[in-house]
């Protein structure tokens, strides 16, 4: 299956990159805090093409992920770093990167890992990849 990135997705990545460079999270695009949190998670992954590839494989291997929407998966990832998607604030959004980094290290310690395409990944980063994949496919209509 080939991952197609929609123009909207590409635009989002471009916008987020520009906004990142200006240190303006959200950048007044009108996105909600949960959407902002989801974007923060996705943006932990540098190469979205690769992330989507791994995410697709993870989703295909995990039926539970397949039935999730991007927001449900975002809530799941946030929950694993002790954040509530329904009550998340700006300061917590700013802490996502550090929290995820800590969570991933802990995943490796706890052996909360999965193998994807020959890579041993933490379950959290595998979900982040899945989020990239779901975001691309489910938003591309």
């Amino acid at each position: 299956m080939t991952v197609k990135q929609s123009r909207r997705s590409v635009l989002k990545v471009v916008i987020s990159s520009v906004c990142s460079s200006l240190l303006l999270p959200g950048c007044g695009t009108g996105e909600s805090k949960p959407e902002n949190a989801a974007r923060q998670i996705r943006e932990q992954l540098r190469h979205h093409g690769v992330a989507a590839h791994l995410g697709r494989l993870e989703v295909e291997a995990n039926p539970k992920l397949k039935s999730m929407t991007p927001m449900q998966l975002t809530a799941d990832v946030l929950s694993s770093i002790d954040l509530d998607i329904n009550a998340i604030n700006d300061a917590q959004i700013d802490s996502i990167s550090e929290r995820i980094s800590t969570r991933i290290r802990q995943d490796f310690t706890d052996e909360a890992v999965t193998t994807v395409d020959g890579w041993l990944l933490s379950v959290t980063e595998a979900k982040a990849c899945a989020l990239v994949f779901l975001d691309i496919t489910q938003s591309s209509g």
Binding site: Q44, L45, R46, H47, V50, A51, L54, S97, E98, I100, S101, I104, R105, D107, F108, T109, E111, V113, T115, D117, G118, W119, L120, L121, S122, E125, A128
Partner: protein, 500 residues
């Protein structure tokens, strides 16, 4: 004295106190130990001083086991034996390697690491290894100024490995043996058979032949078989007079339990996410107190006992940016290096983890005599069936998983392995380590081994065996230093046995 057997008179009879069969690491070590003693020693070497393809062809045989085992390329049949092309990696076996482990069938030596300790120390100068510092990592890090990885010390450790120049025994010790008045080294002397007395409890003499040359016999008070991990067993199996099953083979153990290290090169590629990661301690050689050393990553005893694993080691080699996709850098940010792309920061962005795994002893992995192929002396050639077990695959998978977990935990990178794609089969590049062991295994009981703790063949009062064929288990370490240590120990035992 070096003697060319081709110049002997056909039908000659030679006599010695000790006859050593084989001029490799074990045989030469034992011969050197007797220099200047009152014992007359004859060392019989099949080859000459240089490689000769015709002599080498005596090692040819058939492989009926795993295709990744190459019977013809591992060994060398001339003076110095396989040390003529060994790599020089050296480290004693770990204490746990000698133990009988309930999770590893057929494991356990009748001696301990402590029994070999002084011999390991004596082996150090024989192999030109410098100081005996295998447990002193701090000395290596101090001497180099390089740091070891911050491994979870309950699971993994950085261990010190020695690097011999490597010592080419046939060159390094040739003159010393040539000058020794009581040592006679016969070149081009192929032992065809060991001839015991009628009850097969004592070897009377050897039947020896030179290719296109004379046939002769050698009698001695003590015989030492030191022809390597496969040929030791073959010679016993060829010695059928009064023992149709082969000498020392009453319990059908000679040739069984044939082992070799399982190699995956690489077993794991770690694409590292830390741009400043330095691994020089592991992949470069360092001069420390007159010898060269480097570091490896190995399992701890705690891990082996807790998870009931076979022993293993990992070599770390930087490989450069060989990935064509940016997958190596994908997770850099998640390890806390936001904005850093290691692909742009360093050339050495991945590490090939070469795994060396201890195999589980397997009686069905064995060498036998060919039913229909003969060598140039009309003797049956070898047939080798090297097998590994499902347990070995399980151990390999877990070893690679542990390393990948550890690099993830340390925030240094992510591991890729073909085993992570399919854990049910070996990657195609799995290979044997070229360390042939186990075919005349040491044991406390003749029902489970061919030789006793003194390396004497059970039931034969004057036949000893030296070399890696005596190892009942092999840990992860390269065998040469243990071969030499055991040869030194056997020499001490024989000196005691032959005392006036």
């Amino acid at each position: 004295m070096l003697i060319d057997s081709r110049e002997l008179t056909d039908g000659s009879s030679l006599q010695a106190d000790i006859c050593i069969i084989g001029g490799g690491a074990a045989g030469i070590t034992i011969a050197r130990e007797f220099i200047g003693t009152n014992n007359k020693v004859i060392l019989l070497e099949s080859g000459g001083l240089e490689f000769d393809q015709q002599i080498q062809s005596l090692y040819s045989g058939d492989n009926t086991g795993l295709p990744s085992f190459d019977i013809d390329v591992n060994r060398l049949r001339y003076f110095g034996g396989t040390t003529n092309h060994w790599a020089g990696h050296s480290r004693p076996l770990d204490p746990i390697d000698f133990e009988e482990k309930e999770w590893m069938p057929h494991s356990g030596w009748p001696i301990t690491r402590a029994d070999l300790e002084t011999y390991y120390q004596r082996a150090q100068p024989v192999l030109q290894l410098g100081g005996y510092d295998y447990e002193n990592l701090a000395k290596l890090t101090r001497a180099t100024g390089l740091e070891a990885l911050a491994l979870d010390e309950r699971r993994l450790k950085t261990a010190v490995y020695g690097q011999s120049p490597p010592t080419r025994f046939g060159i390094e010790y040739r003159n010393e043996l040539a000058r020794a008045a009581n040592i006679q080294v016969y070149l081009y002397a192929n032992v065809l058979e060991l001839l015991p007395n009628e009850s097969a409890v004592h070897v009377d003499y050897l039947r020896v032949a030179s290719f296109k040359g004379p046939r002769f016999r050698v009698a001695a008070r003590q015989f030492i078989l030191a022809t390597g991990g496969m040929e030791n067993a073959r010679l016993l199996l060829l010695s059928k007079q009064f023992t149709p099953e082969g000498l020392g083979n009453r319990n059908d153990l000679v040739g069984r339990y044939f082992m070799d290290h399982v190699l995956l090169r690489p077993g794991l590629d770690v694409s590292f996410t830390h741009p400043g990661l330095q691994l020089g301690l592991y992949h470069a050689l360092h001069d420390v107190e007159g010898g060269k050393k480097f570091a490896i990553v190995a399992a701890t005893e705690h891990l082996l006992r807790k998870e009931r694993l076979a022993n293993f080691r990992i070599h770390l080699y930087p490989t450069g940016p060989h990935y064509k996709t940016p997958i190596g850098g994908i997770f850099s940010d998640l390890d806390g290096f936001a904005g850093e792309n290691p692909l742009e920061k360093t050339r050495n962005n991945s590490i090939a983890m070469h795994m060396v795994l201890e195999p589980v002893p397997n009686p069905d992995s064995r060498i036998t005599l060919s039913q229909n192929k003969l060598d140039i002396f009309e003797q049956p050639k070898l047939e080798v069936k090297w097998l590994v077990e499902d347990a070995d695959l399980t151990h390999a998978y877990r070893a690679m998983e542990l390393i990948a977990l550890e690099f993830g935990r340390m925030g240094l990178g992510r591991g890729y392995s073909q085993l992570f794609i399919d854990k049910t089969r070996w990657p195609k590049h799995m290979e044997a380590g070229k360390h042939h062991c186990g075919t005349t295994r040491m044991s406390k009981d003749p029902k489970t081994g061919v030789i006793d703790a003194n390396c004497k063949v059970f039931g034969v009062d004057n036949l000893h065996i030296a070399g890696s064929s005596v190892f009942p288990t092999i840990g992860y370490a390269n065998p040469t230093i243990t071969i030499v240590a055991l040869a030194l120990r056997l020499s001490d035992h024989l000196k005691y046995t032959l005392r006036p």
